[in-house]
Symmetry: C2
Subunit: 152 residues, 2 copies
DNA sequence: TTAAAATAGTTGCACATGCCACTAATTACA
DNA sequence: TGTAATTAGTGGCATGTGCAACTATTTTAA
């Protein structure tokens, strides 16, 4: 019925939304929402980051970051320690409870990647990541340049 | 500081969120939100579809579709006509006001694609679309199969 | 050294999105 | 034919997300 030509933007939208559904479904049982897993995964890689560092690494708004961490803290997955050297900021640490489910949380992303990669060769998977990375870097550069408020 | 290895999922998230920001910013002046442009674009391709058809084509929840169309109708961009043959459903038509901004609305997506494609060869762009399409189809198949409520 | 600018984090608001329960109409079938 | 099942659309709820205004602290510079 409709012309089936899809665009990059359209597929990105589908992949994002469906990925969120999958992740949300898989983590629901732990009381972790689809907006929080990304922070857990970042902290598994490097524990003790500040919210600012998480925000800028993940390129997620600091308000969103604050809310996600608040939930993770309420669920007992992270705790926040005011830094002595700079009392404005925290260090965010994973709790034992968070470390205990590390493999499971990381497994959700791994599994989703496997679902997406079905039928793709190793080479295609590598290429997909490389091209997404290039486009992502372009997007980030553009958006970040354009919200620098013109000084004048 | 943090290991810079990003995954497909991470880049998809960034591309989606930044794309939404870009689109929202560009269409704000027309009173069109970032959640509505996708429906306009689908209708530019084929006018007069039902909400059901739009939902299933775009793979967007029918509740979300209903709300987006309600906004577009309130802004005078679409109107809905009950079908005589099936009084449960509408045909959604673009108004003259919507047709007038067609090039501009479509241009937003084109421009965003150009931003993303900066530094990519034609061949890479083709590949990117092809790989996204394959992964998108995998995602859709998985999600759609898994929410078929087991009959038993 | 003090006043101004920058920075980390919080909160409220608006909006997008999916899910679910619901209504009204249509279709299937006993 | 009449009842059950299915379908199109709506509305409420929960959550994620970005933005903007705000506070508290730290840094810069006059």
């Amino acid at each position: 019925m409709i012309d089936q030509r899809h665009t990059i933007t359209r597929w990105v939208s589908l992949l994002y939304r469906y990925g969120q559904m999958y992740i949300g479904e898989r983590l629901k049982a732990h009381g972790i929402g689809k907006g929080q897993h990304i922070f857990l995964n970042a902290l598994y890689k490097e524990d003790g980051l500040s919210q600012e560092e998480l925000s800028s690494y993940l390129k997620i708004d600091k308000g969103t970051t604050a809310k996600a961490l608040k939930k993770l803290e309420a669920q007992g997955y992270v705790l926040r320690q005011v830094r002595a050297e700079d009392k404005r900021s925290y260090r965010v640490f994973l709790t034992e409870k968070a470390w205990r489910i590390k493999d499971e949380v990381r497994g959700v992303l791994t599994d989703w990647r496997h679902i997406l990669s079905d039928g793709l060769t190793e080479e295609e998977q590598r290429l997909a990541l490389e091209l997404l990375e290039k486009m992502g870097a372009n997007a980030a550069r553009f958006i970040e340049e354009n919200d620098k408020t013109p000084k004048a």
